[in-house]
Subunit: 333 residues, 2 copies
DNA sequence: ATGAAAGCGCTAACAC
DNA sequence: GTGTTAGCGCTTTCAT
């Protein structure tokens, strides 16, 4: 028999109102009754029912989190930072894996609506963001993390992808590379990385030959395949910018298989600075995103928005950093 | 203004009872009214409020998931498989990171209780399982995954850790290694792996020198440090069994730093077969756990238990598999 | 086949 | 400083 506010009230010899007041620190309560109530709560091992409270207009103390795939180390780390910060505020996080699939996204959105969550953290791509827009219009607290949906007026925290792409390309350029290929994932954040790549190449007056831009999905295997394809060209590149660590790890495998030494024969730079970038051999030069900070900021923004109905939307652009490890080197010839 | 069962009833010109019946497929409803109600629901974009329903004794359609750390690739993959299967049943998953910290475990347990979850999946260590036991006694649906708490009578799905440990050690033994060290994490599952290691060594009449068993935490850095320590011994081992991939990755780094070639100078086997084992170089020989299957089974067990109050507790022991890659080889001398 | 009404656990006026 | 009371959105007897 689970303890209710009524059983606590009875135990403490007061009314439910009083108990409610001590739970929520509202109204005024004498120190003595407070103690009695607290004691009764402890004795009955009482914990308030959020569901019931939320019915009366209070918060559910739960956020939804939409990620493409938690088993992708980048999103696992994002999830961890989101959950940590949420927990600091007494919030639980409902995790949903969308695979960037529109059907699943929609599905989860309605599941989460049924669950009466207080806010939503979105890291999924949402190529058709109509439903999100609807929720936004209704004033539903939401924040995008590591994901951009230009059309939407919404709180956003991302790394500066353009800068990241520029950093990576410049690094390669400064090493003397002239033939650089890029592998991107087909999501919005990667578009900015590509744009920066093109810009940097153009500034250096370098061409981007056909086949030097390949678009694929985020998976080691895909990186491997893309790497194979690029490295089989007659006039292959001397460097590859892989737009995330998963892809870069795949490229490393492909290069090894083709007999290329890294970084002597081929430089590779990744993106995200996930755990993977330190386990590959050679370790990956990559662009780091301040994941801990991003997660914390995202949650803060959400909490903020919940308090003040309809505050202004913020767009937080955090700075990426170039982490030089062992997968890049000056061009030898 | 969110649609309620009342607004739907009004729209359809029926009572709330009728609407409830069509939602839950209970009682009997004429085909015509069914259609009307469905139409009204669609029109108002209605989705039932789980919180309110749960107040009346229905399920909340949410599970809790306690993992040590979602940013550990193994648990990320476990979480993914749990969430996938839960979603198949219309369930949401609340993810909690405990860091195997008793305080946090306790904290989350009470947070989750407030949330009225229908069941709990536990992958966290729970060195003091009193609270879990209490919940179990109350008949609360629970399942342990990749984690053992012998004292508890509870549904469990794990890999056969003993067999896994035996597999790993035998592999090394069959390669001619006689001096083998082991690095374990201080959790229960690893105890079985260690026991199997000892057993296999004894069967082969091989001693385990002082310092060949090191106990640490699950992190690359810890694996690195432990590796360094072991490899600095005068009479070092020719093979190391690292009880998870994170640790193994660290050992690889340590070996490299000390100038040891893998697998020529040192064989390494990991455990878990996470994404890490394919990105290291050389790729890791490791013991694979059928994570997808484990997650699915765990959820199935939970659903099963929810239906039939107090069924018998099952203990599912799945078979691990030896995955031979490149980090192990016959002893050269 | 349908509806009226009670009540799940809780909060918030409002009264005292 | 404390209690009475009305409902939040829903399910569920029990009538009709």
């Amino acid at each position: 028999m689970k303890a209710t506010i009524r059983s606590v009230a009875q135990e403490a010899g007061v009314s439910t109102t009083t108990v409610s007041k001590v739970i929520n620190h509202t109204g005024s309560i004498s120190e003595q009754t407070r103690k009695n109530v607290l004691a009764a709560m402890k004795k009955l091992n009482y914990s308030p029912d959020v569901a019931a409270a939320s019915l009366r207009g209070k918060r559910t103390k739960a956020f939804g989190l939409l990620v493409p795939d938690i088993s992708n180390p980048f999103y696992a780390e994002v999830a961890r930072s989101i959950e940590d910060r949420s927990h600091d505020f007494g919030y639980n996080v409902m995790m949903c894996n969308t695979d960037n699939d529109a059907e699943k996204e929609k599905n989860y959105l309605s599941l989460l609506t049924s669950q009466r969550i207080d806010g939503l953290v979105v890291a999924s791509a949402f190529r058709s963001p109509d439903l999100l827009e609807e929720m936004l219009d209704k004033g539903f607290p939401m924040v995008l993390i590591a994901s951009e949906i230009p059309k939407l007026s919404v709180n956003t925290v991302t790394v500066d992808d353009y800068k990241g792409g520029y950093l990576a390309t410049s690094h390669l350029l400064s090493l003397g590379h002239k033939k650089i290929a890029i592998i991107i994932e087909n999501v919005r954040s990667n578009a900015a990385r590509l744009a920066a790549f093109k810009e940097a190449m153009q500034e250096a007056d370098l061409p981007i030959p056909d086949g030097f831009i390949v678009k694929t999905e985020a998976a080691i295997q895909k990186g491997y395949e893309s790497g194979k394809k690029i490295l089989s060209m007659k006039e292959g590149p001397t460097a590859i910018f892989a737009c995330n660590d998963l892809l870069a790890a795949g490229v490393l495998q492909a290069a090894k298989e083709v007999g290329l030494n890294i970084p002597q024969d081929l430089s590779v730079v990744g993106f995200d600075n996930t755990v993977l970038s330190t386990t590959t051999s050679p370790m990956l030069t990559t662009i780091s995103q301040p994941i801990k900070l991003m997660g914390a900021k995202a949650v803060d923004l959400l909490i903020e928005e919940m308090k003040q109905e309809k505050g202004n939307k913020e767009r937080l652009l955090l700075s990426p950093e170039l982490i030089i490890r062992q997968s890049t080197a000056s061009i030898s010839i």
